[in-house]
């Protein structure tokens, strides 16, 4: 099922709207009532949007405030004075470049590796016949129901035993595949037409070639959505990197900033600059491909 959120289909309200505007040709007063109503909707929308954006706006504006402005009462949203000091300082006070690099490597490699392994497993489950496929599928559905917090202690213990705590491989390896990803892609693969791959199979193409050359290109939208899911989930994750890193240097951005905040509560200008820089890639990424991402979420609930 494809869901377009910016849809051009006629909405119930538009009907009412056009009916009213037809009527309004006869009487002027309804025109103004109607447009007032319309404007109220727009204003309500803007108020809601700004309220939702308040912490992001506050963060963005505060990042440009000098310390003296931040502690001046009453606080203002807009900076009374603009400085770039915080952005310069954040790289020195926090091992920010290291955190950034850690986060990119962690979220980036988890996303890529997981997309590969998820899609391979999903291909087998959706397209290949083998004994035990039902068992594997049920197992994956069961794993979907497990809160990952349950595995935290044994997982930490295990990785600690083999010396992988405080390391990027330790962060990455347990996330190299994902039950949700497998299930999500399986559902998508099932919805793809079989003609192309049957033709390839008749031509003697190997299953790997069918998977890589036929199915994967067709699955681009689903892979993009899942990729963004994986990327933002791991980029944003706090608990997992928090327990896996003993110090700020080996943490990711959310864990590192939280640890830094725990030690230096009051340096808000610095923290806000760091937070803004940490959020920026995900926000930009999202704005660029928001339509397919949002449509992907919508379909997971319906499929």
């Amino acid at each position: 099922m494809t869901v377009t959120l910016v849809n051009e289909t006629v909405q119930p309200d538009e009907h009412r709207g056009s009916a009213q505007s037809k009527r309004s040709r006869r009487s002027g007063s309804i025109v103004s009532t109607y447009s007032i109503w319309k404007w109220l909707t727009v204003i309500a929308g803007i108020v809601i949007a700004l309220a939702m954006l308040l912490p992001v706006l506050w963060m963005a504006f505060t990042a440009f405030k000098p310390e003296t402005d931040i502690v001046t009462y009453p606080p203002t949203l807009w900076p009374r004075e603009v400085t770039f000091e915080n952005f310069a300082e954040v790289w020195e006070r926090i091992p920010f470049a290291q955190l950034y690099l850690n986060t990119i490597i962690f979220a980036g490699s988890v996303t890529l590796i997981s997309l590969l392994f998820d899609s391979m497993a999903a291909y087998a489950l959706a397209r290949l016949e083998f004994r035990g496929s039902g068992v594997v599928l049920v197992l994956i559905l069961l794993l979907l129901m497990i809160p990952f917090q349950v595995t935290l202690i044994p997982l930490y213990d295990m990785l600690n035993g083999i010396g992988l705590t405080n390391t990027l491989p330790g962060l990455i390896i347990p996330r190299m595949t994902n039950a949700f990803g497998i299930f999500f892609l399986r559902q998508f693969f099932l919805s793809l037409p079989r003609d192309l791959e049957e033709a390839a199979r008749v031509d003697g193409a190997s299953e790997w070639r069918i998977y890589w050359g036929v199915i994967m290109p067709l699955a681009k939208p689903a892979l993009l959505t899942l990729g963004l899911f994986h990327f933002q989930y791991n980029w944003n994750d706090l608990l997992w990197p928090l327990i896996m890193s003993a110090d700020v240097e080996s943490a990711t951005l959310p864990a590192g900033l939280a640890l830094f905040m725990g030690q230096h509560v009051v340096e808000y200008g610095l923290l806000m600059a760091g937070a803004l820089l940490a959020l920026l890639p995900v926000i930009v990424f999202f704005l660029v491909i928001q339509r397919s991402f949002v449509a992907g979420i919508a379909t997971t609930g319906l499929k």
Binding site: M1, L5, Q11, P12, D13, E14, T41, V42, M52, L53, L54, P55, V56, W58, T72, Y73, P75, F117, M120, Y123, A124, L125, L128, E129, F130, R131, I140, I146, P147, F148, Q149, V150, T151, I153, P154, L155, Y156, D157, M158, P174, T177, N236, D237, L238, L239, L242, I243, L253, P254, M261, M272, A275, L279, F286, Q290, V294, I297, A298, G301, L302
Partner: protein, 311 residues
């Protein structure tokens, strides 16, 4: 392929042979495709889960080797005020945040389902909290609520809501504050699910209702709401499961305080497991969490199986 050789065989034998060989080959291929996923899921998900169940029956604590203690951890748990505090905090968080999130996301979806200038902007703004890191943005919320220099604290003071210690340090308001941030974070995500549901409702149904003289409320009550029942069930279960796992904003904003007023189950697992290093006891708490989430997920799975009210 050795076609020359096989021409000697009769048509039927050849066909069945090929099918047999094909099936066997495909079976092997399938397991090769599954191998990486199965190895990783077994090693880093299934095995740790079994291990958690085992550890919960020991007094393991990272320094001392695990010693079997039977159900001692669970007995201690039931008598531990810290556990019951975390348990009831989690229940409170869940029963307050879930209905508010679901109701608000439906209201926002209905609002955004109408056409108006700037709609795309509003939708993006509502959805944005879902994609940013809760752990990071919670720093901004903490700052907004700072009693001395926080903008939101200042605004609240202007309308007469004054707390001397600040909302996050006041035992009466801290939970409310982290709940508020929890709703703020997820409302856009569920709104998108509702929007998808709204857009799949055929316009003719509204036409018919209108012809029958149904007002806006009646159309909502008798057309929209019943046809959104799938979304409502799914969103409710997802929201409920998410609330049982609340951690990020609580860790950043209050660390479970003041006076453990915001310590949830996951916060307690973190504290017992990774600060007190009581792995056995922490594992027992996480098994309790597992049981709750698993039961709720079964309901969700039942929903997927039962599937759709069709129209």
């Amino acid at each position: 392929m050795t076609t020359l050789e096989s021409t000697r065989l009769s048509e039927t034998v050849r066909a069945s042979r090929r099918r047999g060989r094909f099936a066997r080959k495909q079976e092997l291929t399938a397991w090769l495709f599954l191998a990486p996923a199965i190895v990783i899921l077994t090693a880093f998900m299934l095995y740790p889960m079994v291990q958690a169940a085992y550890l919960s029956l020991t007094d393991y604590n990272l320094i001392r080797a695990a010693e079997w203690v039977g159900f001692d951890n669970y007995i201690e748990l039931l008598q531990d005020p810290a556990f019951w505090n975390a348990f009831w905090n989690t229940v409170l968080y869940a029963v307050v945040v879930t209905p508010i999130t679901v109701g608000l996301s439906l209201a926002l979806a209905l609002f955004l389902n109408r056409q108006f200038v700037g709609r795309a902007f509003v939708r993006t703004a509502i959805f944005l909290p879902f994609i940013v890191s809760l752990g990071i943005i919670a720093i901004a919320w903490t700052f907004l609520l700072d009693p001395n220099i926080g903008l939101l604290s200042y605004w609240l003071a202007q309308i007469g809501v004054v707390t001397e210690q600040g909302l996050l340090s006041d035992p009466n308001t801290a939970m409310g504050a982290v709940m508020f941030v929890g709703v703020w974070k997820f409302v856009g995500f569920y709104m998108v699910m509702y929007l998808a549901g709204l857009q799949s409702i055929p316009e003719e149904l509204y036409e018919a209702a209108r012809l029958d003289g149904a007002g806006a409320w009646q159309r909502f009550r008798n057309v929209t709401l019943p046809l959104l029942s799938n979304q409502t069930l799914l969103v409710s279960v997802l929201a409920l499961i998410a609330t049982l796992q609340a951690f990020d904003q609580i860790y950043v904003m209050t660390r479970g305080g003041p006076f453990f007023k915001t310590e949830t189950i996951v916060m307690l697992i973190y504290r017992e497991g990774f600060q007190e290093l009581r792995f056995g006891y922490g594992a027992a708490i996480s098994i309790v969490l597992l049981i709750f989430v698993f039961l709720l997920s079964m309901i969700q799975y039942g929903y997927f199986r039962r599937k759709q009210v069709r129209y």
